[in-house]
């Protein structure tokens, strides 16, 4: 039963969906504050390479090495996001241009590739990896075994993050403030809320999430470093935020949907089922998503109809005369 196609697809869909979920949650936080960051792909690659480097270099037990790797990946993501934050919040540059530049700068032909080569990370498996936390006996339970109990700790932490982000936005004072900053910075400013501070904080936290998302790939899903290993997951994550109407709980559903799609092609192949050029369209998905994202974020009408934060992508200038 646990070998049936559906269960296998869902189980690996949850695994493949986890980096998407982290990246989407981070992007959601930034976008809720009004900052669109198209640099997710670049920040994920930054986190992926630095997380992988950490486990290869830190000589400690698995727990410590992996924790350190996640922290380093988060810091790398936040550091890259700070470039974007400075450009678009302080210098009020175009958010679309700056985000694209960040992806190119940190991406597959940029900083992450350079670091991967310079630190000699390719061609060796990860020294420590995230493995399933529950005992084998539980993983063998029918259906829920592989899907729910066959996952690594990053998956369970991501569920916690969905709950926390959701509660943060809907029930807390800073959550209310950040929504106000994303919807109407002028209103927030008059009420004494610092638009700049909130935008910086959420863009940086968003970057940290993207960094962790990258490390999830290199430390749990395919524990190795390959140039451009994220394969466009960052773009899918940005699209996910849009399709989830900027709501964390829907990000979870969407992430697992896209994760399952990714799992589908290899599984079908392994079972000798041929449904036309399956590999082709799953591989093309990130590119399609990139186009979808760029069309939607540059069309004001599409954004407002989908319910985007009203000030998304717009720099705030306190009304000077």
């Amino acid at each position: 039963m646990n070998n049936s196609l559906l269960v296998v697809i869902l189980a690996s869909g949850v695994a493949y969906g986890t980096p998407l979920l982290y990246a989407a949650l981070g992007e959601l936080l930034a976008e809720r504050s009004g900052v669109l960051n198209l640099g997710v792909e670049g920040m994920m690659l930054g986190g992926a390479v630095m997380g992988f480097w950490t486990v290869q270099r830190v000589h400690a037990n698995t727990g410590v090495a992996l924790t350190a790797a996640i922290v380093v990946a988060a810091l790398m993501g936040a550091a890259l996001a700070s470039i974007h934050a400075f450009l678009v919040i302080t210098l009020r540059a175009s958010q679309i241009v700056s985000g694209l530049a960040l992806t190119i700068f940190a991406g597959a032909v940029g900083l992450s590739s350079y670091l991967g080569n310079d630190l000699n990370l390719a061609d060796s498996p990860a020294a420590h990896t995230f493995n399933a936390v529950f005992p084998k006996s539980m993983q063998n339970w029918p259906i829920v075994g592989p899907i729910i109990f066959g996952q690594n700790v990053l998956v369970y932490v991501s569920w916690l993050c969905v709950v926390l982000v959701s509660l943060y936005l809907s029930r807390t004072r800073p959550g209310l403030n950040v929504r106000a900053v994303g919807e109407s910075p002028a209103a927030a400013d008059t009420m004494g809320i610092s638009v700049t501070r909130y935008r910086y904080a959420h863009t940086l936290v968003g970057g940290a999430f993207a960094g962790v998302a990258g490390a999830t790939i290199t430390l749990a899903i395919t524990p190795q470093w390959v140039n451009g290993i994220t394969g466009g997951a960052g773009w899918i994550a940005i699209a996910l935020v849009i399709f989830a109407f900027w709501r964390p709980e829907l990000c979870l559903v969407g992430a697992y949907f896209f994760g399952s799609l990714q799992a589908l092609a290899p599984q079908l192949q392994a079972r000798n089922i041929h449904l036309g050029p399956t590999v082709l369209w799953t591989n093309a998905l990130p590119y399609v998503m990139t186009i979808v994202v760029l069309v939607i974020v540059s069309s004001g009408t599409a954004k407002s109809r989908l319910g985007a934060p009203e000030a998304l992508g717009v720099a705030y200038v306190r009304e000077e005369r």
């Binding site: 029930r171 807390t172 004072r173 800073p174 959550g175 209310l176 403030n177 929504r179 106000a180 919807e183 109407s184 002028a186 209103a187 927030a188 400013d189 008059t190 009420m191 004494g192 809320i193 009408t301 407002s304 109809r305 009203e310 306190r318 009304e319 000077e320 005369r321």
Partner: protein, 507 residues
């Protein structure tokens, strides 16, 4: 009633604020007593908003001292001003439109329900209802702002200030968005707040409002506080003179057109969508005759802008017909509209009306250049020459035809737009809020141009939120409410126009 209490609620001494190239406030002295309604009167650009932005901590003054109830203050941020009891109702509301009324009130609140990490806006629902009942500002705390009318949104802004326990309340042009009836209700609330000992600073450039609601008036002109007088001792004439610095001759409309004139602009069952995909114009039928000024009144946002744009070819219609001189005009095609003889003075003069970084001469030729060029080449010499004429005729104050357009003041920008539209001798002229933000002198000039156009036989469609303007110029008044147009029977009846602006019908 206001008295010169020993300690004024607000005292500003020698307050100066400079912006690059202008002194917005020049050694302004201002004083308001507790329990007083104090009007700040002045034309646009006189420095009223700057002064209030200093008082609310948005700007820091370059010089001068501010005291509240005898205590010197220096606000570094809006937060500090709020904490000191200064509340402001901005002309453009500062509300989060997707939030509920309660959420907007709790936002940034440090005293009430908003001071905890965990927030429950519904906890203040009762408090909002009580405040609303006490000040006749009823509003449902669970309603979302976008669901509310503009008048209701203003109530939320005032409630916000009251919820923050503001002792000094600044209202910036509060009646600009209200129907006459709503304005009267607001005045009652204002008086009540003053009777409770709060200080209300009422910013306006409308004399009759100032006369009706205030105890004292401070007149600002060109950044200077000229005088503070008791309203009881002032007359509208004396205040105008202070405000403008000279007497103003009001142009009055001579020889109203006969409604039997030739129909020039005919609009039939026109429908158009707004920017957000909602239906903004719902089946408008309208005829404007040669030599007639038809005025469309209404509170902003009832579809006036979309109607004007649909007629002027800037917005496709979803249904219906526009005809000029009997010939149908393809909507959604600005050039076709222009060729058909429609001139358009848009509401947003710098954004839609002009290309800000082009020289004045180019902007003046923006519509006519197609007929004046030689093949692909512009006849720059001719353009300059024509521009020089127009600058002279329309009294555009500028350095010359080569000056960049966005360096001009609001009134002169509007004259550039009008000059361009007039020089094409349009048979239909649509003017959308043509005098918004202009000073009194410029307003008079724009009005005389519109009357001149009508006299020369154009069909003029004036769209305005300013009732005084509508009453001064119209041959016929129509009111736009939620996308539909109704005719006003008595074109001089403020009460009928006001009633229709609120969606009612007389009788």
């Amino acid at each position: 009633m206001a008295t010169d209490a020993a300690v004024p609620a607000v005292s500003m001494r020698g307050v100066t604020k400079r912006f690059p190239g202008v002194v917005a406030n020049d050694k302004v002295d201002f004083e308001a007593a507790p329990g007083e309604v104090h009007a700040l009167l002045g034309e646009n650009g006189a420095g009223k908003s700057t002064l209030s932005n200093i008082l609310t901590g948005l700007y820091q003054p370059d010089e001068g001292r501010i005291e509240l109830y005898g205590e010197p203050v220096a606000f570094a941020s809006p937060r500090e001003a709020i904490d000191a009891g200064v509340g402001m109702v901005h002309q453009h509301f500062r509300l989060v439109s997707r939030f509920t009324v309660a959420e907007n009130l709790v936002l940034g609140d440090r005293r009430g329900a908003g001071r905890y990490f965990h927030i429950d806006p519904s906890a203040i629902a009762t408090q909002v209802r009580e405040l609303g009942a006490r000040y006749s500002l009823p509003v449902d705390p669970r309603a979302r702002i976008w669901q509310l009318s503009v008048g209701e949104q203003q109530r939320v802004e005032i409630l916000k200030a009251l919820y923050q326990e503001a002792r000094i309340l600044i209202l910036d042009e509060p009646t600009a968005v209200l129907t006459p009836d709503e304005a009267d209700t607001l005045f009652v609330t204002v008086r009540q707040m003053a009777e409770e000992g709060r200080t209300v600073i009422f910013i306006s450039h409308k004399l009759h409002e100032v006369m009706a609601v205030s105890d004292r008036v401070t007149v600002l002109r060109a950044g200077k506080a000229l005088a503070t007088v008791r309203t009881a001792d002032a007359t509208p004439e004396s205040l105008t003179e202070l405000m403008v610095g000279r007497e103003i001759e009001t142009a009055t409309r001579q020889g109203r057109a006969q409604p039997e004139g030739v129909p020039v602009l005919e609009v039939e069952d026109l429908w158009a969508d707004g920017d957000r995909g909602t239906v903004a114009v719902r089946g408008v039928t309208l005829t404007v005759h040669a030599g007639e000024i038809a005025a469309i009144a209404g509170v902003a946002g009832n579809g006036q802008r979309e109607l004007a744009e649909a007629i002027a070819g800037l917005r496709p219609s979803t249904k219906g017909m526009v005809r000029v001189n009997g010939r149908p005009v393809h909507t959604g095609d600005a050039q076709a509209a222009f060729e058909a003889g429609i001139g358009y003075v848009p509401e947003d003069r710098l954004g839609t009306g002009l290309s800000p970084t082009l020289p004045i001469a180019m902007n003046l030729s923006l519509k006519s250049y197609r007929h004046e060029s030689v093949g692909p080449f512009l006849r720059l010499h001719l353009m300059r020459h024509k521009a020089e004429d127009e600058i002279r005729i329309f009294e555009i104050k500028c350095a010359g035809p080569d000056q960049e357009t966005d360096e001009l003041s609001g009134g002169n920008l509007q004259k550039v737009v009008i000059a361009r539209e007039f020089s094409a001798h349009p048979s239909v002229l649509i003017a959308a809020s043509p005098t918004r933000g202009l000073d009194v002198a410029a307003v008079e000039q724009v009005h005389s141009y519109l009357m001149q156009a009508a006299e020369e036989g154009a069909a003029v469609l004036l769209i305005s939120e300013d009732l005084d303007e509508i009453l001064a110029l119209n041959d016929r008044v129509l009111v736009m409410y939620e996308g539909t147009l109704t005719a006003v029977e008595d074109r001089e009846s403020v009460s009928e126009i006001g009633l229709r602006m609120a969606g009612g019908t007389p009788g």
